[in-house]
Amino acid sequence: MLVVENLHKSFVTAQGHLAVLRGIDLTLEAGVSLALMGESGSGKSTLLHLLAGLERADSGRILVEGVALADRREADLARWRREGIGLVFQQYNLISSLDVAANLAFQARLAGRYDPAWVTHLAERLGLQALLTRYPEQLSGGQQQRVAIGRALASRPPLLLADEPTGSLDEASSEAVLALLLQLVGELGCSLLMVTHSERLAARLDRRLVLHHGRVAAVSE
């Protein structure tokens, strides 16, 4: 469902021109989970941002169901983010003015795919039933990340992009959150692309891709 061809991306920094991605090729089939690995600065997050339509590539193509993402206008990119993907960040990024219930339902409602039964089910599965009327600040980090995962999956996206979703959590909560995430992805049958440092975590996904200096260093099943 997702094909990446020869993707290049560079940034202008104070030190000069910095090439972050130098020709990435990648294919992700429907229902497959992929761990995106590599040391800091290898370009993992940038690749994720490009896939999410948060940034545009300098060259190369991202094809979604055969259509190039780079050709789309900003409004179409926004729509891609809204309807095509679910996003989970390390920093949760919940909407502070909305309570947990509203946060959970937010993207699904934006995408026009709000299914109360599914959201209730998600809340149950994520253990959030008792927290629905709370506000993000009133939650622990693990709770917040569970809300973020619920929000991303509530719209039943074909693709879930996660950027170190457990990076801010301690090991125990991290394990629990991740288990939930994988279970739900499995239930939903969506593809998953997850940036992670964790070898142990990567081992639980279908495939892995290791980046080094903006290039694909290794691919493994």
Partner: protein, 819 residues
């Protein structure tokens, strides 16, 4: 301490905008306050200068019983009877040429001044007496007056009709608009040989006049307070109140910015304390930092306050001259003390605005994590506290309304109303948003309202400022417009005659009257006998009028008894101006006791009438009655009703025949134009200060939004990531600001009308003695509402423009850096 201060100050490098907003707030607050104070003190200093033209210990004076002048021979008689009197001759001198303008001429006789008196505000030692009384003599003038009129220094100046003004000599302390000359020169310039206006008595004793003079002269006892000062007090109090309002609005900005800076530096403060910096040191450093801001903006504030004052001075001095005959210089002086005072007021403001932040910093727990929820709880406690305070203020307002009977209580009423409204604003807005939230169905609209409520605490101060400024604008605007309407209607009725003629004395006026009676087209001649006296210490003019249908038809009465005019004509009633009735606390039907020389006379009050713009009291009585009770009543002016289209001819004839005799003629249109001009200028300064205050509120909103911009990004970025376009986000943000501002504007309108009501029904009554009907001008309200919305739109557009222009990378960065 130094390290601590440096660490604290580093914050401003990263957030220059916050620093700028603190500076701006203090600067504007100080500037407006200083400006108003400069205007007031300039005016007051000039009154002092005016009364110091002749600062003798003398207070009591000898005045003519009839007309403007007393004979010089009577002065000599009194001197030779051992009276230590010194003569004054006063009059107005019209300057020739385009420059035009008039000067008040004061003729003095320096040799007869009691020892130790001051002339022109300075002791006599520095005065070249011989040059003053010799030839060609001297004309003393204040430097500002001379410059305003563009007169040459040290040269004899030819005037019309072969007269000449002696060489001008500057006297710094002299009152503006005044030229002091030797009495000999004054008699020549004013063309009143061997005449004097009044004689000042040394000391406060009131000796009895010799019998042969008593029928021509009278001794007026010493007057306590300075009339000018008293009459203009209310005018200055109004200005002061406006200045205070502007100051408070400015402090709102400062308070907002200081609070935000503290919030953002919580972590830094904790770190510093964790590193072993004592609480006292930290507080001292914070205070010092605040002090730096205050000093800097204080200096800036004085400079711009001075600028504001100098721009407004022309209007203020014109209205003071028109309303009270008070001369105020056209130039400001800026004594060094102002700089200190400005810095002091800025320091005070900074301390007021920063006090709560300092207290919060002092209470900051050493190891607590940032707990937004705790803050939110504190916020709701704070809201409850505000609401309680607002209720207290409303009670105070009610007390002032019910029991207050002074200008101060009137202003306290207004201030507590305004402040209560401002304090209630966040709660009201929150309530309104909560109501709106119930009607929202979509995710975006829910977010829109929820997020607006979340922004409310940070914006509430700026919105309060907007509320205050707008309400004040509506209030003052309605009052001004309403006054304009009332005033011009009243003027139309009151100024019904075609020509108004004034002459220097009774005899002259009667001559003119007789001559006019023989002129064709003269339909009615209404002589106006006057007598100046004091009732309960207040200067009052008694006007004796004749029985004429023109009065019955034209003179507007507020309240009257049946047959009021008939009773007046029969000498069995008196009509009082509204302000006099209020001051004397007299109602219709009650009796007014008048201190006639032949014994006290009591007349029932048969009617009350409006007498807008007159700082003195006025009472109408029958002319015959007045002349019987006060033989010294004078006839100084005539109202002439003419057949249609005879106006110009009669005026021209009068001017040709009597101009040399000092007879002045003004037509109805000229008098109206003059009155309206005084009116306009009176409110010009008010209007200017008002729009400045509105501008300050706009800036407060702008700065609040700007400081909010950074944290807003953290709240908007997730939405963007979830699939909203940047433009859409900017639009939503703008919508939020407009919603809040719009609600505020909506609340400001009824508040403004309430304020207008307080102004016309309470403040005006206390300040001037007249009550005006309340008018509401929907067009004006719409205009101001639009202005308020526009200024908030403008304030919101800057930060939003930045948001719309943000690179995605900036938004992304918030995912990595925030929290």
């Amino acid at each position: 301490m130094r390290l601590c201060l440096l660490a604290l100050l580093s914050h401003w490098r990263r957030h220059p905008l916050q620093g700028a907003s603190i500076l701006t707030g203090l600067w504007l607050a100080t500037a407006l306050w200083t400006g108003v104070q400069a205007l007031n003190s300039q005016a007051r200093a000039d009154y002092a200068r005016a009364s110091a033209v002749l600062a003798t210990p003398a207070q009591a004076q000898v005045l003519p019983r009839q007309g403007q002048y007393l004979a010089q021979a009577d002065y000599v008689t009194l001197r030779r009877a051992g009276w230590a009197v010194t003569p004054l001759l006063e009059g107005r001198l019209r300057l020739p040429g385009e420059a035009g303008g008039t000067l008040q001429v004061i003729g003095i006789e320096p040799l007869s001044l009691p020892a130790g008196s001051q002339v022109a505000g300075q002791p006599g030692e520095g005065v070249d007496l011989l040059a003053f009384i010799g030839k060609p003599g001297q004309a003393w003038i204040a430097p500002d007056t001379r410059q305003r009129l563009g007169l040459p220094l040290g040269e004899t100046m030819p005037l019309s009709e072969g007269l000449q003004l002696p060489p001008l000599v500057e006297q710094a302390q002299l009152a503006p608009g005044v030229v002091v000359v030797d009495i000999a020169q004054a008699q020549a310039l004013l063309q009143v040989p061997e005449q004097m206006s009044r004689l000042l008595l040394a000391g406060t004793a009131e000796p009895t006049l010799p019998a042969e003079l008593a029928d021509r002269l009278r001794v007026q006892p010493a007057e306590g307070a300075d009339d000018l000062q008293r009459l203009t007090d209310s005018f200055h109090l109004n200005l002061t109140a406006l200045g205070l309002l502007a100051f408070i609005v400015g402090l709102f900005i400062v308070h907002a910015a200081i609070g935000l800076a503290l919030e953002q530096r919580r972590a830094l403060l904790r770190t510093l304390r964790a590193c072993g910096v004592g609480l006292a040191t930290l507080l001292a450093a914070l205070t010092l930092e605040l002090g730096l801001f205050a000093v800097l903006s204080g200096v800036l504030g004085v400079a711009s306050g001075y600028l504001i004052a100098s721009l407004l001075l022309a209007d203020v001095s014109a209205s003071l001259r028109g309303l009270y005959g008070a001369e105020v210089a056209g130039q400001l002086s800026l004594p060094a003390i102002w700089w200190l005072a400005g810095v002091a007021i800025s320091l005070l403001g900074a301390l007021l605005a920063g006090l709560s932040s300092l207290v919060r910093a002092a209470r900051l727990p050493l190891l607590a994590l940032a707990q937004p929820q705790a803050w939110r709880q504190a916020q709701s406690r704070w809201l409850r506290g505000q609401a309680l305070l607002a209720l207290g203020l409303l009670v105070l307002a009610a007390i002032c309304w019910g029991l207050g009977d002074s200008l101060v209580s009137a202003f306290v009423l207004m201030a507590s109303l305004l402040l209560a409204a401002a304090l209630l604003l966040p709660a009201l807005l929150d309530g309104a948003l909560a109501l709106l939230a119930r009607r929202c169905r979509g995710p975006l609209s829910e977010w829109f309202i929820a997020d607006s409520r979340q922004q409310l605490p940070a914006l509430s101060l700026a919105l309060m400022a907007l509320l205050l400024a707008l309400a004040a604008s509506v209030g003052v605007g309605s009052m001004t417009q309403g006054f304009r309407l009332t005033f011009s209607g009243w003027l139309d009725q009151r100024l019904a005659a075609d020509l108004y003629v004034s002459a220097p004395n009774t005899t002259q006026t009667q001559l003119v009257m007789d001559a006019l009676a023989a002129q064709p087209g003269v339909e009615a001649l209404l002589p106006n006998w006057t007598l100046d006296t004091r009732l309960q210490g207040w200067p009052v003019q008694l006007q004796g009028i004749v029985d004429d249908p023109h009065y019955r038809e034209g003179w507007p009465l507020l309240e009257q008894q049946a047959d009021a005019w008939a009773q007046l004509a029969a000498g069995q009633g008196v009509m009082l101006s509204e302000q006099l009735a209020r001051r004397l606390n007299l109602r219709l039907g009650e009796r007014l006791t008048l201190p006639a020389p032949s014994g006290e006379q009591a007349l029932p009050v048969v009617a009350l009438y409006a007498d807008y713009g007159n700082p003195k009291g006025q009472a109408l009585v029958a002319a015959d009655w007045l002349r019987r009770a006060w033989p010294e009543a004078t006839l100084g002016s005539l109202a002439v009703h003419l057949a249609p289209s005879r106006g110009e001819a009669v005026q021209a004839w009068l001017e040709a025949a009597y101009a040399d005799a000092g007879v002045r003629v003004i037509d109805q249109a000229g008098l109206k134009a003059w009155s309206n001009q005084v009116f306009e200028r009176t409110f010009a300064a008010t209007a200017a200060l008002n729009s400045l205050t509105l501008g300050v509120a706009g800036i407060a909103l702008f700065i609040s939004l700007l400081t909010l911009g950074h944290s807003r990004l953290g709240q908007l970025a997730p939405l963007w990531a979830l699939g909203l376009g940047r433009r859409q986000l900017a639009g939503l943000s703008l919508g939020q600001t407009l919603l809040l501002a719009g609600l505020t504007v909506l609340l400001a309108m009824p508040l403004g009308v309430l304020l207008a009501y307080c102004l016309v029904a309470v403040v005006n009554v206390q300040a001037f003695g007249w009550r005006l009907p309340l008018y509401i001008f929907p067009g004006q309200l719409l205009n101001l509402a639009a202005l308020g919305l526009c200024s908030s739109l403008l304030a919101a557009s800057g930060p939003l423009w930045q948001l719309a222009r943000r690179q995605p990378a900036d938004l992304l960065r918030t995912f990595a850096h925030e929290r």
